[in-house]
């Protein structure tokens, strides 16, 4: 029993990230509303960030800010005591990219709405064919 729990704990993060990613992907593929797709896109991106942050997690490690006293010489730092900071750095970048993409996508959606007065893809397509 404890073995199963241990496995679940050990991989649960990864499973959830896969679920989230698939939710986002599903929304992007099947939803016809442009903004809904954008929401899906953001969920998708956030899921990947979750994945990376999970890589960085370290049992028994603390947040990656070194304890030190001002002025005093700090003691030797051991890697095992701190969480892996590299994924965090990467994910800061990824979050920024996500918000940048979000801005662009929303701007496009607004332009499309101004032109066709709807956000539903099928309605837009029928309007393009109609005109």
């Amino acid at each position: 029993m404890s073995g199963i729990v241990a496995t679940i704990i050990a991989k649960y993060n990864y499973w959830i990230y896969i679920c989230l990613m698939m939710i986002g992907l599903y929304a992007m593929i099947t939803k016809r509303n442009l903004i809904k797709k954008i929401v899906g896109m953001n969920i998708f991106q956030t899921a990947i960030i979750l994945f990376y942050v999970s890589i960085g997690a370290k049992r028994g490690g603390t947040i990656p800010i070194i304890e030190h006293a001002h002025g005093g010489q700090s003691h030797a730092v051991e890697a095992v005591h701190y969480i892996n900071p590299l994924p965090h750095v990467l994910m800061l970048t990824a979050i920024v990219v996500a918000v940048a993409t979000l801005g662009v996508a929303l701007a496009l959606a607004i332009r499309i709405y101004n032109r066709y007065r709807t956000l539903e893809e099928d309605e837009i397509l029928s309007r393009i064919r109609g005109s």
Binding site: I9, I43, T46, L50, L92, A98
Partner: protein, 81 residues
Amino acid sequence: MIWELDMAILTLVLFCAVGAITVKDLLGAAILFGAYSFMMCLLWAIMGAVDVAFTEASVGAGVSTVFFVAAVFRTTRRTKD
């Protein structure tokens, strides 16, 4: 890291995500997306990624949601799915 808390929030995140894409109102979707982001932020804080959590709190739950709301305000709340 407290793994029970971690798992509980992970499950909540899942609900928020499903909610955000199924709700039939774009403003609702935007707000649920905000909640989703905030849950994520909590999750990362638990995992010790404080900087990422901070960023997600200000960007994902904050500015992104504002952008969404602004865009929905400029377009329409109506959605068919």
